[in-house]
Symmetry: none
Subunit: 212 residues, 2 copies
């Protein structure tokens, strides 16, 4: 099993580089609760691991109406696995060994497609954010946001009420964690506040920010 983790890590790093923010689960129950509790854009599921019941995890997600797209990894030649996976509600598959950039590309395509059907409008208080149209409104009035501001706002709106640290934000927005020599995050928070309202994002000194 040791190199399964290697695989997962390599994939995770590659995806992070491609701009995804990634979380792992190395066994069934963990994966189950991750997919149930958190709101993800997509999941990658390795069906090739023994004792993992990847398919059961997938079925359980679907039973609970978690409809994010799922990409399954199968060993080469295990055709039935692939068919079972698709029947269980997976959206795409890749056979191992895989090229990380390809996984990233497929994931992006899946996310894009699924975004097409879900109403991707987040609402919170006087704020509204539609990620597929890139439009945001505050008190009904449209506000112009740049790409980075949009990413940040999106991140906050998915984490209402939770404290979000600056490190977390840099990781999410930049994929590369250049240690905190700059105050870029503060600057972007400031810009968001200016475009909406001062009390939209509360700062928790020494810990980060929170939106609620």
């Amino acid at each position: 099993m040791e190199d399964d983790r290697d695989i997962a890590q390599r994939l995770g790093e590659g995806l992070a580089e491609a701009g995804f923010s990634v979380e792992y689960a190395y066994n069934g129950p963990d994966g189950l609760s991750l997919g149930t509790d958190d709101s993800f854009d997509a999941a990658v599921l390795d069906l090739g691991l023994p004792q993992m019941q990847g398919l059961d995890v997938l079925k359980e997600w679907r039973r609970k109406s978690r409809n994010f797209p799922v990409l399954i990894l199968t060993a080469r030649g295990t055709w039935s696995e692939k068919v079972d996976g698709l029947n269980a509600g997976a959206d795409d598959y890749i056979t191992k060994p895989f090229h990380v950039p390809e996984v990233a590309a497929r994931l992006k395509a899946l996310i894009r497609r699924s975004a097409g059907q879900a109403s991707s409008v987040l609402t919170h208080g006087r704020l509204t954010l539609d990620t597929t149209t890139g439009k945001a409104t505050f008190d009904g009035a449209p506000i112009e946001l740049t790409a980075s501001e949009l990413r940040m706002l999106n991140y906050f709106m998915h984490r209402i009420g939770r404290i979000v640290s600056q490190n977390e934000l840099t990781e999410h927005l930049y994929a590369t964690v250049d240690s905190r020599e700059s105050n870029t995050i503060e600057v972007y928070v400031s810009r968001l506040r200016r475009k909406t309202s001062t009390d939209l994002i509360k700062t928790i000194r020494g810990l980060g920010y929170r939106m609620d």
Copy 2:
């Protein structure tokens, strides 16, 4: 190809669940007569099947003025197929493997559109595009479009209000995604704008374009 029927069945069940009533044909002649004799709201046509001449079926339908919307399924990476399909009068395409709810959603959209205007003419604002004849008008005046411009415009008009990334466009217009090696997309956007209006397609820096 033993699982083609599996695919068809999975799709059929999914569509039935989504409220469609479904009939199947597993070969060309059957499909031809189904589409000719019966009156359907829409058809899903798998072009990936050998010996099926899905395209010929489609052409024959169109020749006989059966104008229900047609959604084609293509294997991924077969770019020419999808171009041929669209040129032969298909209204939309989805690459396999597909997400059943997505197929359902697209079908509904197609049906709604065709019920609205009974032809393959897309209208949006001052713009008009007939997807079967490839003729477009702006403010009532016809505009000349090349094949690529047409495909791009078609793509935009099917995605009104949505952000469409450059990658997405290259993927749709071409086979491979060599990002940022060329600025072809920008050039075509520019040409479309010149032939219609500057504010037809809005550019969203860092994210893509949006028509609305």
